[in-house]
Point group: D2
Chain length 245, copies 4
C-alpha cells in the first residue's frame, strides 16, 4: 500500500485579486483550482500557502510536513524571503518533491536549485501551444496521448538557460514559431524537481483536465519514499578496510 | 589555429604560509605549482589570484579577461565575498570555464552552481587513491592509462551530494574501502564546469605529472569557443510565424 | 492500488547441475533462489525459464505475459537463439522491464540494447566487494544503508564499455584495487533496463538479504504502468496545423 | 596543432540517378555536395563511398583510415550487408566518429548503436522546419544564431524512439504542428555519434550554408583524439592490491 502524500500548493496570489481578467478565471486563486484537481485525483492531504501569509505560509512546521510542494509565482519573486527559500532548498535536498509551474522558472528557489539564470524568450499574446511527449515511458506521461494542445497560452522559447534535464518529458511547439523544453525532471540531493511550463494566469490552463492529469502524475512521481531527518552534512569517517601503513 | 586560452588560477593560499608541512610541498603556493605545470603544457596566458588580494584578485576586469578559472579553497570558503561569487557565476553562465579542485567542492561558487549541499564523507590520514577512467573517450582522459595512482591522499567518499554529472570521467578507489565520483563534468549556462577531486594540501599531488596532465586536459576542454558579451536575460520576442487569430 | 507485476526469471542453468561447488549453493538453480526471494518480497506472479526449454522458455505467449524479465547467463550466451533475443528486445521497446544480472553483461540481449561491446576487466578469485549507493534518492536504493558489503565476489572492473547510464545507482569497490559502475539504469523504447553486477555462481550472493532487497526494488522500478500493444513503427501523419503553401 | 581529420562520406546514392527531381538538386549525389562543403570548411582528406561499390566502399582498409564517417541512406537500408555494419560498429567503438543524417535514423548501423527501433512520425509534403539551438554552448552549435530556418523540408515528429541523447543540441519546429529532437549526441564505446535530422533528398538542404556549418562543426566534434588499435575485449586482470585471504 502506498503512503499518503502530503501536498502543499504555494501561490503568489497577486494577480487574481487585482486583475479582473485573471480573477474571472481563478476567482479563489490558482492554488484553489490546483487543490481541487489534486483532490479529484485522489490526494487527500492538500494544503495551500500564499505570499502574504506569515513566512509566506511556509513555516518550518509546514515544510516538515510536506512531501511535495507546488510553486506558482510571477511578479513577486523578489519578495520571497531568502530565509524561506533556503528552508525550501534544504527540504528538497532532504527528499521533498518540488513542482515548479510556469513563471516559477524565474523564482528564487528554482534558480537556486538549477545554478543558472533560468532565462528564456517569451511573448504573452495568446497562441496555440502543443506539448509533445518525448518520453512516453515516463510516469509523468502516464495515460497521455502523443501531445497536449492548449488553444491559448503564453509563449516561452529557447534558449532556456537551465542545466540539461536529467529526464526530458515534454517539448512544446508554439504557433508563433518557437519550441521550448517544457517538462524537465531533475534530482537535487534526495529530492525530485519537475518544471512544467504551461499556466499563464490570463488563460484557463489549470482548468484543463489533461494538464491536471500531468500535475497529478508529477506529484506522484516527486513524492519521496522517505524524507531524511537531517540535512546532508560533511561527515568524517573511520577506515573500513586497513589502510596498511 | 586554436585561440590562446587565458587562464586564471585562484588559490585560497591560507595553509601554505601557515602550515610548515604544506609550505615545504608548496613553498610559493599551490597556485604557483599549477601555473608552472600549465606553462609546461603550452598555456601562455596564466594569471594567479588569492583570497587576500583586493576583490580576492578577481575584479571584473580580471574575470572578463579569463577563459578558464581554476579554484582551490578549503578553510576560508565563507570569507569569499558574495559579490565576487556572483560575478564568477555570471561569467560561467556567459561561457567561462571553471575547474574546481579538491576541497573546492564546498566552496560557495561550486555549491551555487550545483544547487546541492555538495557534502561528502572524508578522512585525511593519507591512503592510496586510484582514479579509474570510466570515460576513456573523453578529452579530459586524453593520453591517460586506465587509472592514476596516488600513494597518499585524503579520502572523499560517497554519498557525494551533487547533481548527477553530465559526464562522469573518473571514479576513485580508496584503500580504506570507499569510492567517490572524482571527475565530474557539468554545463551551466554556456560555461563548462569540471570538478576534479585530488589535491589535499599535505600531499604533493599537484606535483604529479599525470595529475598535471588531467588539469591541462580539463583547461582545454573547458575553454569556450567564445564568451558571450552579456549575461543571459529574459527577452520578449515578436512572433516569427503568423499567430493567426 | 498497484497492479500485480508478472515476473519471469530467466537462467542459463548450466553451472548448477554440472559444477558441484555451484550446485551446493544453488541446488535448484539461481532462478529458484531469486523466485523465492521475490515471493517473500510480495510478488505473486513469478515464472522461471531456462536455456534448455523449448524457445528457452521464452515463447511469445510467455513474453507477452511478462512485465519484468530477469536475466542470468554466463557460459552459453551464444546458444541463445537470435529469434528469442529479437523477441525480448521488441518487448522491452514496448515497455517490459529487464533486469540483467552479473555475467549477463555479455549476453546478446544486453549488448543489443546497449549498442556497445559491454566488455570489462574481471578476476574470479573471491574478494570483498562493497557496493556504494551514489543515488540515495533512487527507488532501487530504497531502504538501503550507504553501502552493501559482499565478503566474496568476482571482480568486474572499469573500463566497462557501456553507454553512460541514464541513472547510476551503485559503484563497486573491490579489495584488489578496482571500481566498476555496478547499478546502471537505462530506458530503451518504453522499457526500463537495470544492470546489477553481483552474482557470480560460486558465491552465495543471491542468498544475501540486501541483494534480494535491491532486486525486489529493481523489479518494482522496472514494472511498466502499461505495456504497449504493438511494437513502435514509423507512421505517416497528416498536418495538424495548416502548412500554408 | 590539430591533426588532420580523415573523413569518409557514405551515400546510398539511389535517388539521385533515378529521380529527376533529386538529380537536379544533387546531380553528382548528396555525397559530392557534402564533400565540397567540408573542403570549403578546411577539411582536406575527404573520401566518398556508395552502396553499389564493392563492400559498399567501406572495406576494412577504408574504415581503418577513417576518423569520421558520414552516413546518408533512405530506401536501401536492408541492402547494406551485415558484415559492413558490424565493421562500422566495431570502428565506432574503437573511436571513429559517426554522423548520421536524416533518413539514416532508420539505417542498420544507427539502430544497432542505439538499441531501439528509431521509429518516428513523418510527412514529406514540404513545410518550414526551424531548428532551435537548445545547447548554445555546444561545439556543434558554434557560430550559429538562435535557430536555423529551412523553407521546405520533410517533417519528422515525436515520438522518436531513441535513447535519451547524452547531449541534445537541436529541437525542430515544423509548420504542420510537430517537434522533434533533431540534433542528438551519443557516445558509444570510444566513438562519438551525432544524429542530424535535416536533408530530405527532394529539397536543397545540403546546399544551405548554415546546415553545412553544422555538419562541419559536427565532424570536428566527432573526430577522435586517437582511435584505439584494437576492439574492446573482456580482459582478465591480476589484483593490484593484496586480496588478503
Amino acid at each position: 500500500m502506498q503512503k499518503p502524500v502530503n501536498v502543499t500548493i504555494w501561490n503568489e496570489f497577486w494577480h487574481e485579486p487585482r486583475n479582473p481578467e485573471v480573477g474571472r478565471i481563478y476567482p479563489e486563486g490558482i492554488h484553489a483550482v490546483l487543490a481541487e484537481a489534486l483532490r479529484r485525483h485522489g490526494f487527500e492531504s492538500i494544503r495551500t500557502a500564499t505570499l502574504e501569509e506569515p513566512d509566506h505560509g511556509l513555516s518550518r512546521a509546514v515544510l516538515d510536513g510536506t512531501d511535495v510542494l507546488l510553486w506558482w509565482g510571477h511578479r513577486k519573486h523578489e519578495e520571497v524571503s531568502d530565509e524561506v527559500v533556503a528552508r525550501v532548498q534544504e527540504r528538497v535536498l532532504q527528499g521533498m518533491g518540488l513542482i515548479v509551474l510556469h513563471s516559477g522558472h524565474f523564482s528564487k528557489i528554482f534558480r537556486r536549485l538549477m545554478g543558472t539564470s533560468c532565462t528564456l524568450s517569451w511573448r504573452a499574446v495568446g497562441e496555440t501551444e502543443r506539448l509533445w511527449v518525448v518520453a512516453p515511458h515516463h510516469p509523468i506521461a502516464n495515460g497521455l496521448d502523443r501531445s497536449i494542445e492548449l488553444a491559448q497560452e503564453e509563449m516561452y522559447g529557447e534558449p532556456f538557460d537551465i542545466p540539461a534535464p536529467d529526464e526530458l518529458v515534454f517539448v512544446s511547439w508554439f504557433k508563433g514559431g518557437e519550441v521550448v523544453r517544457s517538462g524537465c525532471c531533475y534530482t537535487r540531493g534526495r529530492g525530485r524537481v519537475f518544471y512544467f511550463r504551461p499556466g499563464h494566469e490570463t488563460f484557463p490552463t489549470y482548468h484543463d483536465a489533461t494538464i491536471q492529469q500531468v500535475i497529478a502524475n508529477a506529484v506522484r512521481w516527486a513524492a519521496p519514499a522517505a524524507v531524511a531527518d537531517k540535512p546532508p552534512a560533511n561527515v568524517k569517517r573511520e577506515p573500513i578496510e586497513p589502510i596498511g601503513r
